[in-house]
Amino acid sequence: MSDKVTSIKIAGLGGMGVLKSTQILAEVFFRQGFDVKKAEVHGMSQRGGSICSDVRFGKKVFSPMVPAGALNFLVLFQDDQFPLYEADCSPGTVILKPAAIDPAKLENKRALNIAMLGLLSRHLDIPVEVWLNVLHEALPEKGYAVNESAFELGRKS
């Protein structure tokens, strides 16, 4: 395992499933044996306000918050949130936007968060079975198929 820490920020609005997707992400890295930290915002900011969560993994992670300039992936659930996080990005930051997902192919719009995880998963060297196992355990059985196909859609986008 290299000493490198990978830092991811997920950003959207309250109610879009930012917390759920960070929970899934952190669990995936945890199962792969990494040190993992995540930082999230609860409370008032969930009433439809801007919300973001950080997940960092590697051999040893100190700060749970992504330091300025150290962001590897910015995952946006809504394009207009980008200016809030522009200062966190460096030229090396990979920015994933919802435009990459074909809305016509997304069965349920509420599964956009899972589709975006699928998109992110392409950039991370983690077996797809691990993702699917964690998804299966983290999401309700009812409607799971929609989420799995959203994940596959993102992974192919």
Binding site: G14, K38, V41, G43, R47, G49
Partner: protein
């Protein structure tokens, strides 16, 4: 035991469970709210009390029965429970009593940035400060041990970043063979009249002196050797930022920050060329080390505002006090579409009311586009502040003043305000709206004595607001559903504003999220 990935709040709950806590009592408040729900889900006995003072008293009673108890609250909750804390420090405890208090540097969802370490000093109770979930777990177990060993309440100071960050935890074996609850009569220790409190104060100071000595030699503090040019004294989550911002520095992490291990801190500062204290909130450790004669640097005043992070720590170390870039503002939170509070505030706005408000989701009505709340200070203040305005404003203005309070807030600290309203009646009378949405919505839809359900959502006695108001002899009482009966509600409000009498209108309509959540597992504040 196997490693787990836990949020700070989950780690505290697991720590309390493994410490064999007999009961946890608290009042919700971001960022502390999840602790009791998790403790309950793990099989612990947990309750929501009407407010933090009552919660702390219940926990104190449990500890007087010789077993382990804890109470949870946000930092401002300790203002309400402070009366218990100060004298429980004198009486001491029989089992163990741990105050779990969550600060909010940066004001993610609070009305102030107060620093709980000041309370530890003022009341004379030990305080530990974890820097991640592992320490949140370890220090919770330790807090119970210290409390039991020295028969003294102990504070665990969390922060928003600790409560709501997930990190890896390796738990230890649960404590076994703990004492069973029983009552041991001990009047000089349990009854704090002056004659008993005088020796109790001496006992307290003696305990603190012993704990200070223990903290110097065996306390939960850690030195990491590094460069002799730079040494950093740090506590809480700032430790993580320091390790990342300055990997080569020598570091002294303070885990128990009251009583401080001052000798160790002075020794550490003396072994490095440059010693810097880095801490969130007040310059509490920096002042203490300086008062003891230590030569240290501390952060410029600008860094006591808000949270620290890696970048700010780097700036502090680089003596950079140039203005920081102001982060762009995101979309502010708003009332949910269809929230019953919206109708109420639209009506108040139409009648040009001066609204003495309170804290809860409905405080969002103070923001644009409604901008229909004029004051908000602390829980319960809507009553006193509204009455104060009514007493002195010119008649025409006074008649427009309305106090507005949520149901959970009313039970928390509105009952005494209502007694004031019924007792010291302003010349123009007064109007109070109780917004009964059948939940504590803002902090994640917790139950309270007015919902008729316990913490785990099982049925309970239900407080009857109408009867309470009637018992206070308020002459005019009305109950309206703001969504179904907006017209009737508006008419009743208009009439109340006309009269020079006291009126209480109960505005009853459940929060839409609580309705959706009912039947769903407790403790999920997922949004």
């Amino acid at each position: 035991m196997k490693r787990q990935f836990l949020m700070g709040n989950e780690a505290v709950a697991l720590g309390a469970l493994h410490a064999g806590a007999a009961r946890g009592a608290g009042y919700p408040g971001t960022p502390s709210s999840e602790i009791l729900d998790v403790f309950n889900r793990l099989g612990g006995k947990a309750e929501w009390a009407p407010n933090e003072k009552v919660a702390a008293e219940v926990a104190l009673g449990v500890s007087f029965a010789g077993v382990r108890a804890f109470t949870t609250m946000k930092h401002v909750g300790l203002n309400v429970a402070a009366d218990v804390l100060f004298t429980a420090a004198y009486s001491g405890v029989d089992g163990a009593l741990v105050f779990i208090v969550a600060d909010d540097p940066g004001l993610a969802s609070s009305q102030d940035e107060q620093d709980t370490r000041r309370y530890a000093v003022a009341a004379g109770v030990p305080l530990v400060e974890p820097s991640d979930s592992q320490e949140a777990y370890d220090f919770t177990r330790l807090a119970f041990e210290i409390s039991e060993r020295w028969k003294i309440p102990v504070i665990i100071k969390l922060t928003t970043r600790i409560c709501h960050s997930g990190t890896i935890v390796v738990p230890r074996k649960p404590d076994r063979d703990l004492p069973k609850a029983h009552f041991e009569r001990n009047i000089p220790y349990h009854v704090m009249v002056p004659g008993h409190a005088r020796p109790a104060h001496h006992r307290l100071r003696k305990k603190l002196a012993e704990i200070a000595e223990w903290n110097e030699t065996e306390g939960p503090n850690q030195k990491i050797s590094g460069s002799k040019n730079l040494g950093i004294l740090v506590s809480g989550v700032a430790y993580q930022h320091v390790r990342e911002a300055s990997p080569d520095a020598s570091v002294f992490k303070i885990g128990m920050s009251y009583p401080l291990p001052v000798r160790q801190m002075l020794d550490f500062a003396a072994t490095v060329k440059r010693a810097v204290v880095i801490e969130e909130n007040d310059p509490y450790m920096a002042d203490a080390v300086r008062a003891a004669g230590g030569i240290i640097e501390s952060a410029p005043e600008m860094y006591r505002f808000g949270e620290l992070d890696v970048k700010r720590v780097k700036r502090i170390l680089a003596h950079d006090s140039t203005p920081e870039a102001v982060p762009p503002r995101g979309k502010p939170p708003q009332l949910c579409a269809g929230c019953p509070h919206t109708v109420t505030f639209e009506i108040l706005k139409r009648h040009n009311c001066i609204v003495a408000g309170d804290i809860g989701c409905y405080t969002l009505a103070a923001l644009q586009p409604l901008a229909a709340m004029d004051t908000q200070i602390c829980m319960g203040a809507s009553l006193g502040v509204g009455l104060g305005l009514r007493h002195v404003l010119p008649r025409e203005e006074a008649k427009r003043v309305v106090s507005v309070i949520g149901d959970s807030t009313f039970v928390h600290s509105g009952l005494t305000g209502l007694a004031e309203m019924a007792y010291n009646v302003p010349p123009t009378g007064h109007v109070l709206l109780i917004l009964d949405n059948s939940t504590t919505a803002m902090t994640g839809q917790q139950e309270h004595p007015g919902t008729g359900r316990l913490l785990d959502h099982s049925p309970a006695n239900q407080l009857d607001y109408e009867t309470v108001v009637r018992a206070m002899n308020v002459p005019n009482i009305g109950v309206f559903d703001p969504v179904r009966q907006p017209g009737e509600f508006e008419k009743a409000l208009a009439e109340a504003l006309e009269k020079d009498e006291l009126t209480v209108l109960i505005v009853r309509r459940p929060c839409i999220l609580a309705v959706a959540r009912n039947g769903v597992k407790p403790g999920t504040t997922e949004g």
